[in-house]
């Protein structure tokens, strides 16, 4: 990133190749719409391009990139909520029909995740899938480190409990977008 910020264009190619899939996965796990996840991935890299001249390596680049992605996701959610309130609901795409591993176990997992508190779930996803540290998650969500740790612990225990009874216990929980 430092090389790209100094004008080495090919460095961006390497960044793009390395992080396009993790960023796409980040959005894909949080949106029910595949094209929207692609657009948001694209927007994240465009934002990265624009921010490049001002880049200061104060943290890991991975955390920096996910911070941009998280802000874009939050802005997108605000827009969707606003549009849904004033102009009605957008067409929904069920993740179950588009996910690569659309098996019962994943559906069951997603249902269990859906039953977690929204902030706890976000912390868990950032830790498990984006591999961010407690401090990075705290900075992203503007939470103290101890709070992140407590909430992550709570989320894991809750998820373990939700996963225990078996797929039939909460079949009524809908599957869709994790907001």
């Amino acid at each position: 990133m430092l090389a790209f910020s100094k004008g080495v264009a090919i460095a961006f190619d390497q960044l793009f190749v390395r992080y396009r899939q993790p960023i796409f996965a980040f959005f894909r796990r949080r949106t029910s719409d595949l094209p929207r996840a692609e657009e948001l991935t694209q927007e994240t890299f465009i934002a990265l391009l624009r921010a490049a001249p001002r880049y200061q390596p104060s943290a890991l680049f991975r955390a920096y990139l996910f911070a941009i992605a998280f802000r874009i996701l939050r802005a997108d959610r605000r827009k969707v909520t606003f549009r849904a309130f004033f102009f009605g609901s957008p067409a929904k795409v069920d993740l179950a029909t588009t996910a690569r591993n659309n098996n019962d176990e994943v559906l069951w997992l997603r249902q269990a995740l859906g039953r977690l508190d929204a902030v706890d779930r976000e912390i868990l996803l950032l830790r498990e899938f984006e591999q961010l540290g407690y401090g990075e998650i705290g900075k992203l969500l503007k939470l103290p480190l101890n709070t992140v740790r407590s909430r992550l612990f709570r989320a894991r225990l809750a998820l373990r409990e939700h996963l225990e009874p078996g797929p039939a216990a909460s079949a009524s929980v809908p599957v869709g977008e994790i907001s």
């Binding site: 894909r28 391009l49 588009t98 690569r100 407690y134 894991r156 373990r160 994790i178």
Partner: protein, 481 residues
């Protein structure tokens, strides 16, 4: 009860690689010997393992590439019109834009607001001039001369109206300024002018208003929209009044009636004597009845010099609880003038009779008759002078009719109403309260009900719509989650 050197969150931190190498080594050693903590760590591993099964699609290779992004960098806006700015600068620009918009709205709204405020002030000034015209006419009618100042049209601070406090206009207007306009009253003999000028020109008002005894209101020297009916009436009335003869200064005999309940009768009696001495008054009549120390009552007629009346009344009120108060003023101007004229005539008659007796000669019977006439006239003069003196005393000394009674204090052993009487009284009171409440409720429903129903109809539907819309949005996102 088994205790662990590390709490579960520390075990989790070890699992996530968040501990220092020393701490991690200690926790790892503990996990080898503690089956509970080992199981907890295994649970975390299990949860992570389950989560890793949630894989997403691979981003199609042709969807986007770095070269395309580099080209579209300058074209695609990700944050609207100000997307090219830094986030911090973007906030600044938004703030400036909102600020500029606010200033623009302010610049448009404030002059309109000031204009409407000035128009309201000017309308109020015209209304005030009309009020002052009417008040001046009424004052002239009552006191037979023009008010000396606007202050004399105000309400009295206490008691009855008089020439310096005629109670014809509100205190704000009497103070000389109201709603951004200053009112100046100038009496000139039988005529007067009132001008209303803006306290802050171009801010509280632009036009200068004036009026005079004709009742016509002028705006910047020109009649304001012709003569109104009120102004025409005022004009005619004033002309009529001008034709009327001016009687002498007003004389009013004032009477005040009080009924006061005191706690300590003896003390009140002593205070009353002191009050009379202090205000140079006297008892015209005094009747004390009952026990003078505890449950006595008193009826008295006090004569107090008029200038001392207000302060004496205030002091009397402080004796106890005022249960009744009334004040009256009898105008005796004409009566006084009549007696004075009759005395003058009688004196002239007496003088002529004395001259006749001195200059004319005649029979003894005629002389005796003249002397008898002189004696009768002298008697009439003295009687009228006594009447005049009494009348002037009535004017100079106000009469206070005072009833002083002691507050009732129940005593043990005193008879109280029987139980049946009390029950009957309570039931009558309860029935009356119930009836009044029901009637009050019905009156309120009939008076306010239609309005409430209308407002409810106006507001309910939009609020219901917003509420349903909001709930639907919330439910949709909760369901999606």
């Amino acid at each position: 009860m088994k205790t662990h050197p590390y709490d579960p969150e520390t075990v989790m931190s070890y699992f996530d690689g968040e501990l220092s190498s020393t701490e991690a080594a200690d926790v790892a050693a503990h996990l080898h010997v503690c089956p509970d903590c080992f199981k907890l760590a295994n649970d975390f591993v299990h949860v992570s393992g389950v989560l890793t099964k949630w894989q997403v699609e691979i981003l199609p290779p042709g969807t986007t590439d770095a070269a395309t992004l580099l080209k579209t960098k300058g074209r695609v806006s990700i944050s609207g019109f100000f997307g090219w700015l830094r986030p911090s600068n973007r906030i600044l620009v938004y703030t400036v834009a909102v600020g500029a918009l606010s200033v623009l709205l302010f610049a448009i709204a404030v002059p309109n607001l000031i204009r409407s405020k000035m128009a309201a002030n000017e309308a109020s000034a015209v209304g005030s001039l009309r009020t002052l015209t009417t008040a001046t006419i009424m004052y002239n009618d009552q006191y037979h001369h023009l008010p000396p100042s606007l202050e004399s049209l105000r309400a009295p601070t206490y008691g009855q109206t008089y020439a310096d406090a005629a109670n014809l206009i509100d205190p704000t207007l009497a103070s000389g300024s109201k709603s951004g306009y200053r009112f100046t009253y100038q009496p000139l003999g039988d005529r007067y002018t009132i001008t209303a000028e803006a306290i802050e020109p171009e801010k509280s008002g632009t036009r200068l208003f004036s009026t005079d005894e004709t009742g016509i209101i002028f705006s910047n020297g020109k009649p304001l929209g012709g003569e109104s009916q009120v102004e025409k009436t005022s004009k005619t009335r004033l002309l009529d009044l001008e034709r009327a003869a001016r009687p002498p200064a007003t004389m009013i005999a004032r009477t005040v009636e009080f009924s006061i309940v005191v706690k300590d009768f003896a003390r009140a009696r002593t205070s009353m004597d002191a009050l009379l001495a202090r205000h140079r008054g006297y008892f015209a009549q005094l009747t004390v009845s009952g026990d003078s120390t505890s449950r006595g009552s008193l009826q008295a007629s006090l004569r107090i010099p008029v200038p001392e009346l207000d302060s004496a009344v205030t002091e009397l009120k402080s004796f106890g609880r005022v249960e009744h108060e009334s004040q009256s003023g009898e105008e005796v101007t004409m009566q006084h003038a009549d007696i004075v004229a009759r005395i003058s005539n009688a004196r002239e008659a007496e003088s002529r009779l004395k001259d006749m007796l001195r200059t004319r000669t005649g029979k003894v019977a005629d002389v005796l008759e003249v002397e008898q006439q002189i004696s009768q006239t002298r008697g009439q003069i003295e009687q009228m002078e006594a009447e005049l003196k009494a009348l002037e005393t009535r004017v100079d000394f106000a009469t206070i009719s005072l009833t002083l009674s002691t507050e009732f204090k129940d005593r043990v052993g005193e008879l109280s109403p029987s139980a049946s009487t009390r029950i009957r009284n309570a039931s009558v009171s309860g029935y009356r309260d119930f009836r009044e409440t029901v009637i009050g409720l019905l009156v309120w429903i009939l008076a306010s009900g239609p309005g409430i129903v209308l407002w409810a109809a106006i507001f309910t539907l939009p609020l219901l719509w917003i509420w349903r819309r909001w709930r639907a949005t919330q439910n949709r996102f909760q369901a999606a989650a």
